[in-house]
Amino acid sequence: MWRYIVRKFLAAIPVLLGAALLAFLILHLSPGDPARLVAGESAFEEDVLLIRKKLGLDQPFLVQYLRFVGSSLRGEFGRSLRTGRPVRDEVAARFPHTFELAVASLILSIGIGVVAGVAAAIRPNTAYDYGATLVALAGISTPVFWLGLLLMLLFSYYLGWLPASGRGGPLWTLAGLQSIIMPAIALGTPSAAIIARLTRSSLLEVLRQDYVRTARSKGLIERAVIGHHALRNALIPVVTVVGLRLGALLGGAVITEQVFSWPGIGTLIVTAINTRDYPMVQGTMLIAALVFVVVNLCVDLAYALVDPRIRYE
């Protein structure tokens, strides 16, 4: 098991280097001058040149990239060009909020998705099944920003139950809990729909297996057949998708955070891209890639919990 984890981590190194290279390439190929940003709109060209030199932006691309990789390995991601603060601190202040939002929406989407998927699978081709399919399709197709506004209109404007935007506080407080409900629904709806569709098809497949028939012929009640025998096997592909969704939720939170003024890395990265804050974009992307890799590893390990036949050698 430990060897497996170490091997997975080693395999992650080229992924991270690739992500860093990609972030580097995209930024450096797009026009925009970060040195000018630091120097100010009216700065003398000599001042801009000095800053370019100080930031190392006058160096060849490869040198800049290797320097970035080197400092990243030491846990240093440079300083934001806009604020002068260490990127690590800026991300550390914001990332937990993105993470809590992603996890909340994932819990919500698993809860809704699995229940809806199971309910559709045990009554296939009924009005309920078609209804669930329709809702799931709508969930996948609904843009987050639009759904977010509709939620605000309903829960804040008409009902007055929830605050329209912002983070009310830590999640263990009522204000904190109230403030995360709508962003979590908006962000989690497409995932819930995907999980529902996948659970349904996977469970239908499993329900046709011989061991399910055996379980039923033993006289087990239907709840035990579905819950203990069928669902556990049907959830293996769902676990894979859940892992991938968490990564997508972390990345996809950008729009949700904008709509709900959620103080995560989404708003940070959008501003950083618009202002060509190179170190901030690179650092955030690298940290996001690292989280993605770790999440995937956790998903791999979770297989063993769901399916005891899987062993890591």
Binding site: G40, S42, D47, R82, F145, L149, A164, G166, G264
Partner: protein, 518 residues
Amino acid sequence: MNISRVPIALALALVLLCVGVATSAPARQEIVIGNEADVTIFDPIRIQEAPTSFVADMVYDPLVRRTLDGKIGPALAESWKTSPDRRTWTFNLRKGVKFHDGSEFDASVVEWHFKRALDPKEGSVFRRQFMVIESIKVLDRHTIAFTLTEPNVAFLEFVLLTNGGYIPSRKAYETLGEEFPFRPIGTGPFRWAQWVQGQRVVLERNPDYWGTPPKPDRLIIRPITDVNTGIIELETGGVHYIMRGSREDLDRLSKDKRFVVHRVPTYRVRFISMNSVRPPFDDIRVRKAVNHALNVPEITNALTGGMAIPVDTILPVESPFHPARGTYTTYDTTPQKARALLAESGWRPGPGGVLQKGDQTLRFLLHSPNGRYYMDKEISEVICNRLRAVGIECRVKVMDWAAFLAEVRAGKYEAAFLGWNQSSGEPSLFFDPLVATGGRGNYGGFSDPALDAVLREGLIAFSEGRRKLLYARATDIVNKNAWYVPLNNEFKVAVTTSRMGGYVHSAARNDFTTMFLK
């Protein structure tokens, strides 16, 4: 039974009394403001963004401050005068003023601040502008003199009224180290209380403020990046004040008694810049033809009605120096004149009606940002569409702001949708950067020696009448050269709850000290 009711009644009376006492105490005035984005950095010499600048304006004081009617009034300087040779500006500073950290404000702090702003090592974004200062001399503890490299009537506007003109505490700079840019300590009406990144900034009333005490006890400034979210927050009571909204929402809210919509034309000009050193706009006749081909009032009213007003100069209509109509060159919308000018320049109709000269086709790319200015992309698209009617092929190149600015600033454009924002109508703030030879916002290579001479005189002429004449002449020269198609002046918008009292909506500045909730 009756006996047991007595203590209950007494207890009830006591509770009611307590409630009565509690409710009769004055309510704490806490005003929540929706900001367009989170604040960033509060070192005055590095503040570049409006969402940070308006917060800084409540914490710091400059030497002089703009009044709500656009004039310049005293702040940390009680009075000032200029020398006969018009190069030395002397300021008498306010006595007994303390920074929020208890340190004293005096001439040595002012000297330190401006010297720091001129020091290349400090990374001031205003260094170039401030280099008009030749020397700074402390005459006594409360008097300071700035000597300029050359006479400059607009010194207050150029230096003191920029973000770099806010005076921070020297003690804070020396003691806070790396935290200095993130914990602003000034002399302003509000003190910095809390900043939760991405969530809110909390300012508290400064009880020792030297001026009229501010009415709010606390100001909470929340970053709300999405326009629609801002509107819903206002409607649901999450904020009391927002600074923007879509045209449809503003029209709707203006009919709703629960809100007050404020609009005022500002010193924000939008225009099309035509690059005079690249074809096809290196030919003045083509530039004039474009001006004649476009019906700017029609385009502006259709796309930005209620949010901007059409203009025909690069100087905002609100500027006291804006010349009277009829005293400067303008271009009436006459497509025939446009066609005639293009024909005179040798352009002949080719296939599909697009004009040609030899093997050249009359076409250009119009660089446009998307959402930086109100309806920028949409206006650009309509402009291109209209120009086809006179045989000019135009395509809009929509770019993200940083990329747009990099190309335009390097002069790599034929035409571009641009804007210029200032906090006052001082004409030199528009003319000098935009049209003086080598001006910092003159991206299209515009140069006219006669105009440069007029602008130089505009900076040294102290008589307002003379200056008005000079800038009327400058307006005429700029329009004769047809470097720009002036489009509109954007409105400054704010929406407040109708419970809000004491707010004065001004193009010059935001003043939150007079606000209170009824």
